[in-house]
């Protein structure tokens, strides 16, 4: 439930790939995602919340390490080595029983069989062992990120973003892009070499779709065309052109090439014309969004552009 507040946000997660691969390699779970576990805490995890679970003191490292051994031997076959669950057992990281537990007191009865009717069979483990396992599980749950994001790296390593057909993508490029962009070096608004400019498929795709070297995060309204070329035509026919500073129903502000700021109270006889250089890209994403194969066209163009090294 994303809310509109100053505290909600979008965060780009760029997990170091080498680290992610290393963590992934040690996770035998079905997904092979490799949640960070105690003793292998990831260098960059999601921003943590400040709930009780995130702030309570952890058990001593040797207790946690022993708890992990006991967990792996007794629990991991159903709940997975990363505690995220499997067909045979639920996700323990998100368990209210674990979050509300302090020192194993809520886990002991469950291990003893109190939830047998829900499919959790009784286990023969001593109280001390259960409490030690609980200490380990708390050390993992402490790494839960803000807004319930899972512990550890937020991205599965080795995701294949470029899946399109580069040949079909060239045809799609010719249809949708070539009136403005050339693929030849030195051509009109050339995209030659774009495949070498971006190190991963997601950055490449975001760049060409948005028409920007970077890309903007989602949001409302946004910049309102700030910086775009604007021409204001007065009631008497005089015009003034420059870069847009701000524009709303009541006031328009622009900067002329000499650097001077001009501010106008808008009225009925004044026209304001803003040229949006992103217009063609906006039209394209809108068109693709409404077509059944729009995503495929986007993926194909990305695959084609990736070949332009």
């Amino acid at each position: 439930m994303l809310r509109l507040t100053k505290l909600t946000f979008s965060v780009a997660l760029t997990v170091g790939l080498g680290l992610a691969v290393q963590l992934g390699a040690q996770a035998p779970g079905r997904g092979g995602r490799g949640r960070g576990a105690a003793g292998a805490a990831p260098a960059r995890a999601a921003r943590r919340g400040n709930y009780e679970q995130n702030m309570r003191p952890l058990a001593a490292p040797d207790v946690i390490a022993h708890g992990k051994e006991l967990y792996d031997a007794n629990c991991a076959s159903c709940h997975a080595s990363d505690m995220m669950g499997s067909d045979k057992g639920g996700n323990l990281v998100a368990s209210q029983d674990l979050l509300n537990d302090q020192n194993g007191e809520l886990i002991e009865p469950i291990v003893a069989g109190s939830q047998a009717s829900l499919g959790m069979p009784a286990q023969t483990l001593s109280k001390d062992d259960v409490d030690t396992i609980a200490a380990y599980m708390h050390s993992v749950a402490a790494q839960v990120g803000s807004q319930g994001r899972p512990p550890g790296p937020q991205e599965t390593p080795g995701l294949k973003v470029i899946v399109g057909d580069a040949v079909a993508g060239k045809a799609d490029f010719d249809t949708n892009c070539s009136s403005c962009h050339s693929a030849e070096a030195g051509g009109q608004r050339s995209v030659a070499g774009i495949g070498a400019k971006y190190e991963d498929g997601r950055s490449l795709q975001n760049a060409w779709v948005s028409g920007k070297t970077g890309f903007s995060f989602g949001g409302r309204g946004g910049g309102g065309g700030v910086g775009n070329p604007v021409t204001v035509t007065m009631a008497n026919g005089d015009t003034l052109s420059g870069k847009l500073v701000s524009e709303d129903e009541f006031v328009v502000v622009l900067t002329t090439p000499d650097g001077v700021r001009h501010s106008f109270d808008r009225h009925a006889n004044m026209t304001v014309t803003v040229t949006d250089p992103d217009e063609a890209h906006k039209d394209l994403i809108l068109k693709l969004s409404q077509e059944p194969n729009g995503d495929t066209v986007m993926h194909n163009v990305t695959a084609y552009l990736a070949t332009l090294k």
């Binding site: 439930m1 639920g90 302090q102 498929g201 890309f215 989602g218 009541f250 809108l286 986007m298």
Partner: protein, 596 residues
Amino acid sequence: MKRLSTVLSAALFVLLPASFALAQSAPAAAPPATAGAGAQGGLEPTSLLKPLGDNGWPTYCGDYTCKRYSSLDLVNQSNVGNLSLAWVSAGLESGSGPTGTGAPAGGRRGGFGFGGGGGTPTIVGGFGTGELNSGGPARFAGSVLEVNGTLYLSAPDNAWAVDAHDGTVLWHFYWKTRGGTHTGNRGMAMWHNNLYFEVADDNLICLDAATGKEKWSVPSASFAGQYFSDSAPLVFGDHLIVGAGNDENAPGFLQSVDPATGKRQWILYSTPMKQGDPGLNTWPSLYAAQHGAGSTWVAGAYDPETHLYVYGTGNPTPAYTTGRGPGTMDNLFTDSLIAVNVDTGKMAWYYQTSPHDMHDWDSTETPIFVDGNFNGQPRKMVLQALRNGYFFVLDRTTGKHLVTSKFGKVVNFAKGVNANGNPIPNMEKAATIPGSIVNGDVTNYPPPAYSPISKLFYVEENNSLRILYLTDADPRGSMGLGGTSGGASFSFGSNIDAIDYNTGKVVWRHPVERNAGLLTTAGNLLFGGDGDYLIALNPETGKTLWHSKIGAEGNAPETYMLDGKQYVLAVAGNQLFAFVLNQPSSVGAPAVASNR
């Protein structure tokens, strides 16, 4: 639509007991042992039955219908151009530190034991140390109550009483938080002389309205379980309705407590909690349902004839990867409009507005009750416009579906709607590894409005498209709001929309930069926001009649009558602005004779 007679609440103390017990043992101020309301007075619960007008603004929506339509007409189309500032409050500051006076970044305020403006005493509560309170300018994103000439408003961990005549701060209450997710606080409730508000670390606090002193606090949810509480409580007779939020795969719920003591009367979970609960067959497993969310963080509307409270539930969790694996399932009763009998806590009907949500559509937006003709027949209806870009009309007594329409211009996440009007999610528009182009949020908590004069429903409409990537490819799904990354995005503009409930069609669109909620009045005016402007529009045409640049608003404008003047109130940033039709001083109060 389906009718349900079974309750979900039996699982009550199965999942949440320890935290509640722990939280109960911590606090200083315990609820009184006896329930008797004792000396009454203040705001009588029966006065909340009145339609919004000359009785102040006594609830989150102003009245139970949530139309946000006031019968006040002193300010109207003929004179709104003369609306001008009566007063502006000093910038209100949230507390921090052990006494509430910890200097926020920039050191804006000194003084020991004082805060919130003008040397007003700060009353301190809470179980934290104050170190986790961020302090600084108050973030207003909820409704303001106006009762007998006093305004009551809240921000995360803080509440204030303000003189409605001139903006003077009367008291400031500050809660030392234990932590948690601090989203916007949506406002307060009043019952006799008690004020109620929720705080992020999951306490429901009862204050003495006259002094701001804490009467009691009770846990509203499990803080250890990573719930957070920010919704506006609501009073229906002797029931105080309390909602909660949680992003970490926990069950959402709504509860009713005794307004005198805070003792729980009933709890209704949003998802199936045990074998045999209705809706369980819409989840891949009981475990998934028990961790399926459906938060209750936005106030709904109440029908005193049927005793039905109608509210929206939030998204399932994990928000972007729910139910990957066993195919699409509806995930009841997330993203649903639910009617609950406030006396029994039993669900009377539900209607799902976003089945199998894979986009955090979080269908909690405020519903509005309208009595009117539908297809020539009188109907008691409920109208709701949602974050997923769809608008719905139902019969509010039975839950029968009447209208579904798409008001978001670029909405593409659904293939269409089924015979019952429910959107059919297009699973190709969920987050994918190579990216899918999908619409963003069309609306959110900002309150919609309705005018019985124009017979139109008003709501903000935000149009955007973005590339949504799946970054967590685990077939078990991610957790919470994890597992995705947003890519390239474009805005296609925001509007205030007027919607005809008979057809669901948008009658007009008024472009705005953004908007935080709407108000209609018998003066045939529609108040709202356009970026940093407070604006008044003609509700029939959408034409602008008046504007004032006060900063981005945090919630819908409100109106109240005081000493013969109609005030229009708006919150922007950490300030309160009150507008009136100013008159020459000689027409106002008699001149004060001076002896000096």
